[in-house]
Amino acid sequence: MTRAFAAILITCFGFCAPARAQDVKTEIERYRQMVSEGSPAELFEVEGEALWKKPQGPKQAALEKCDLGLGPGVLKGAYAALPRYFKDADRVMDLETRLLHCMTTLQGRSREEATQRVFGNADRPSEMESLSAYVAAQSRGMKMAPGESHPKEKAAYELGRALYFQRAGPWDFACTSCHGEEGKRIRLQELPVLLKPENARSVVATWPAYRISTSGFITMQWRMNNCYQQMRMPEPAFGSDATVALIHFITVTGKGEVYSGPGNKR
């Protein structure tokens, strides 16, 4: 009786064992690769290009002369060099805060109006999302090299790193609660430990991104905002020092990676 039972068990393990973790991982990589070879992400780039050239605001000006760090209107490589310190604003800025800066200075728009709808949806992406897609795409193939030499860039890095570990809110969460230990995941989404360059690099090379589950486009500012929401903390202001510092910290940790253009997330 026992021998027969053992025989059944042994046979069963051969055929009934769940798929090995590595097989699942390989097949999901294949899925992601195939999606990236034919993804709607580029549609947002088209939308962004039109917005970049569209005269808006009281000054009826386009964003075409916006200085993203490499000179007025220079798009190629600009995203790869962000975040960085900007003298005219006397602070470190990421892509979205810099776009906001140009909206207010070049186009004469109020901060209130320009940030009224920074996160869009599938039916209507926000200006920030489309512009981010377009600008980021112009750095395809270039190595990520955020600013590191200016004292404020160093301070932003340190602030970002401190915030990564800072536990707060009703759940006493920090980034480390989810992104602090190797091998963790939420459903099928792996949670990269962004303190390690090898993990930060692939993240930094694939944001902003098309989000498959919502058919929308997501940016780093959105990601920070959403993470804080998930942690049940107060909503950070768009382009706040805290969000820019975190983005800067992650980008510096992942520097050197070749930017592959707006990516795709689940």
Partner: protein, 146 residues
Amino acid sequence: MNRLRRTLLGALAALLAKPLAALATWNESAFGAKTPQDALKGIGAANPTASKEIVIDAPQIAENGAVVPIEIVSNLPGTSSIAVVLEKNPFPLAAKFEFKEGALPYLKLNVKMAETSDVRVVVAAAGGRYYSASREIKVTIGGCGG
């Protein structure tokens, strides 16, 4: 006389205004079929022969059923159409592509899958015969909702 001329001109203008709309057809009964068998019947491919000449390249696992990439090549001589049937979808027939002179029997598209199921590719080839090949794709989160 004038009224007739006006009516005729109006009808002609309407016909020319949206040429694609006037000439395009859409197989409502096949696309409305709720079972794979009825979908196949709807496109006239009730009993396709299994064929290894139809190559389906797709991931074994789709992270999100809302976007499932599928790449198809038919090596069957005289391929004139490729249809995609998602067996467990509420309406299994997803698409039917017809290839004319100049087009190669190749297709890559993104489909929505409601749940893990077989993806069946049906090809019309030389002699008007139908062939098919199948592949299972596991879906972790179904993708047919809004």
